[in-house]
């Protein structure tokens, strides 16, 4: 079980390969990667992610603990970046491994739903015209959490 919070980019393909190579007994490996998407106008210059350092790893580790209590996981991984990113860059990834696919998919979706609304990250979008705006939380994201209760 690995949780990493970092400013530096990560090598998605290498992380996927390393994760899959390290799980013994798993029949199913699921990964999710979140990518900075340009805005509809095509004017996103960069996304800046702020976080609450003293809380972040603690929150992510707690989320992983909840996932492990719900599903029999062979392993799981969360990598989340902070700082300035440009469109196309990966913000974060999760990976889960389990004997069967239902657990691997369930845990990956659960981790994502919790990361979206319960991990202390805030995104700010800077556009090429100099504008800057905090990304608002989406009501769907809050709704997505309810399915796990």
């Amino acid at each position: 079980m690995t949780v990493r919070v970092q400013a530096a980019p990560f090598d998605y393909g290498a992380e996927c390969a390393r994760f899959a190579a390290g799980v013994a007994g798993a029949g199913a490996v699921v990964t999710f990667a979140g990518v900075v998407r340009d805005n509809d106008a095509g004017t996103l210059k960069r996304m800046v992610i702020e976080h609450y350092p003293a809380m972040t790893e603690k929150a992510l580790t707690a989320i992983v603990g909840q996932a492990r209590a719900r599903w029999p996981l062979c392993d799981c991984l969360i990598i989340h970046r902070y700082g300035a990113l440009v469109p196309g860059e990966m913000i974060m990834m999760v990976a889960t491994a389990a004997r069967h696919r239902a657990a691997a998919f369930g845990a990956a979706e659960f981790l994502m739903d919790y990361l979206k609304s319960r991990a202390p990250f805030w995104k700010r979008e800077i556009t090429s015209d100099g504008g800057a705006a905090w990304v608002e939380s989406r009501s769907e994201d809050e709704g997505a959490l309810r399915r796990w209760n």
Partner: protein, 82 residues
């Protein structure tokens, strides 16, 4: 003494990443009332607490949470991770 931290637009609106406050507030809600009385910036940031989230000692909680023994309180908007 309590460390009070601000993130995202709460930090911008107050104009500080955090401050150390001397308080006898028994709950988060009472602390918010004290902080709001500080100046116009604090009052603006705390005008609508339904738009805010709070963590006490790095654990998400609600505005009725007690502050006895707490060392750090953080205020921020709904999180947008992932």
């Amino acid at each position: 003494m309590l460390d009070v931290l601000y993130f995202a637009w709460v930090r911008e609106r107050i104009g500080l990443p955090g401050e150390r406050v001397e308080t006898g507030a028994a709950t988060v809600r009472a602390l918010v009332a004290e902080l709001s009385a500080t100046d116009a910036r604090h009052a603006a940031a705390f005008a609508d607490i339904s738009a805010l989230r709070v963590a006490v000692d790095q654990e998400l909680t609600d505005f009725d949470a007690p502050l006895a023994g707490a060392r750090e309180v953080a205020f921020f908007p709904p999180m947008t991770g992932g």
